[in-house]
Point group: C2
């Protein structure tokens, strides 16, 4: 599978204002976007580290996967996103290797990326997202 | 603080052989090193994604922070490491901002980096490592 690098780390926060203070004010990371992704039940604030992004994730509602994660685990790292060259080819490879993906096909995530999530059962406990950058 | 990017993601595994199969065999990431870091009680296998590394962490003994983490949380993402330009200046800034660091000063981590860990209490639940690349 052609992996291009760590695209971002998703971090679950209770609210974006309080949850962003360390990343924004202490580390001084540059805020590059804020986006609501209804299909994933989240609002995300995106910060650029210079090499890979930090995505802070706030739940949109009680049914959000982030709300459920916060109930179970509290705030912290939620998922690891790797950029791939070709999401369709990657999904095909995952299926051939009997890797458990969440949903049947990719969806559109933050910044227009085509994304698919891999179940932590198949990775050793890490929720892994694969993302293909949109063509300009 | 001058942050240069995501250096790596540390992932706690029960053992490096079983824990590496997804990263090595399914994703096909390149293995770039294996190292024992006695001061942190770990053996680490390092994989390069092309932009940021994956560090798999196995406990060296029962007193290892990784052994304690596995007992409490199971396998999964353990810490997020950001590369900084100047570790001493970064520690000074953290102290000025009343951010809780673990230990008083940096230690030498994997690949000879100068590293310091920031307590999850000060970041919103994420164990954050800052690392300065050794001069060649």
């Amino acid at each position: 599978m052609k992996i291009l690098g760590i695209e971002h780390i998703g971090i679950a926060v209770n609210d974006l204002v309080q949850g962003s203070s360390f990343w924004k004010l202490v580390l001084g990371l540059k805020h590059t976007g804020k986006e609501q992704i209804a299909s994933q039940g989240v609002v995300t604030d995106i910060y650029d580290t210079g090499k890979g992004k930090i995505e802070l994730l706030e739940a949109l509602n009680d049914e959000s996967p982030i709300a459920k994660y916060l109930d179970k685990r509290g705030t912290g790292m939620h998922h690891l996103c790797l950029e791939v060259k070709d999401i369709k080819a990657s999904i095909k490879e995952l299926n051939e290797n009997n890797i458990q993906i969440i949903g049947d096909n990719y969806s559109i995530g933050a910044e227009g990326y085509k994304v698919i999530f891999i179940h932590p059962k198949s990775t050793g406990g890490v929720l892994v997202e694969l993302a293909e950058k949109p063509k300009l």
